[in-house]
């Protein structure tokens, strides 16, 4: 539950901050790329322990 809250903040942060320095689209690219990486590295969730 808390992981979802953290991830929501993290993704919003990435999209917004990327827009400051690059085109807004790159923010979405980085966010989606992070999502892909997290799915591979932390499939159980951002903060959850692997059962």
């Amino acid at each position: 539950m808390f992981g979802g809250f953290v991830a929501a903040f993290l993704f919003a942060e990435i999209i917004s901050v990327s827009g400051l320095y690059l085109d807004q689209e790159w923010g979405y690219v980085f966010a989606f790329a992070l999502f892909v990486v997290l799915m591979f590295l932390r499939p159980q969730g951002l903060l959850a322990r692997r059962s």
Binding site: E25, W26, V29, A33, F35, F40
Partner: protein, 308 residues
Amino acid sequence: MNWPLCAIATVALVALPFVYHGAYPLHILVLILIWSFAYTSWSVMGRFGLVSLGHGGFMGIGAYVTALLWNYWHLTPWLGIPVAMLAAAVMALLIGYPCFRFRITGHYFALLTLALSAIALQVITATRDVTGGSLGYTPERWQGGSSLYALQFLGKETWYLIALGVWALGPLILWRVDRSMLSHALEAIAEDEDAAAAIGVNVTVEKLKITVLSATMTGLAGGIYCQYQMFISPDTVSGIAVTLQMERPYSAGFMFPLDQLSAPRSRSWRPSSCAFGSAPAPSAGTTLSTASCWSWSSSFCHRASSVR
């Protein structure tokens, strides 16, 4: 299969542009054939329960790589399209291998491939200095727009025959896959991955094979679409909208499998398992028939940007 009927249909399809010269109906037919092939490429892997939402990305790669290679290096589409297909295949490997290695399946696989589709769309839009961004991109005309070297033709008849040939590849590939060991392995995997692995099926490799095949076909569809339309934009060749456009005919085919009416097969079909479950496969005819029907509507949607 009724071979005489097939032969008559083939002759009629090939002879059509020589008998009927209406430019706009031929244009619609070309779009139907190209999109039907794209939809068939999705069903190549979708029929085994591998629900990919990343095919918009593969099609975008196919279209944009072909156009960029032509505009920047004047690489003929005869080589550019194979390079684009290779690029789509590499992308499928990059996303597919970790997915299958880590046993990411079902909804999670769909979500991951959805991310790929979104990334492709956003990268094309973001690199607007190179790709034209959301305004779209136009391959340069060569020698007045009619050249075999540049795969550019002014006549709809030529494009109709090319599109017909590409479209015919779809059922051929489905037929080959259906009669290969790959099909049996993937059906076993769709039923139960662990059981399939236990009897010696290399789950990762078999899934990768069909994913790469499907992505390569989609790349081809993208390249041909680009060459025909001579204009591509992120929204028409990539993104989730294009992916869903590819997926819907397959789902429709599942809900109403035409071949069950004409020639019942030994396989049963279960509408409830059409999307993410371990789904049995409809035949090539089913998929293509529904894809063609769907293409009519989608082609009309595309006509505003494509009539030359």
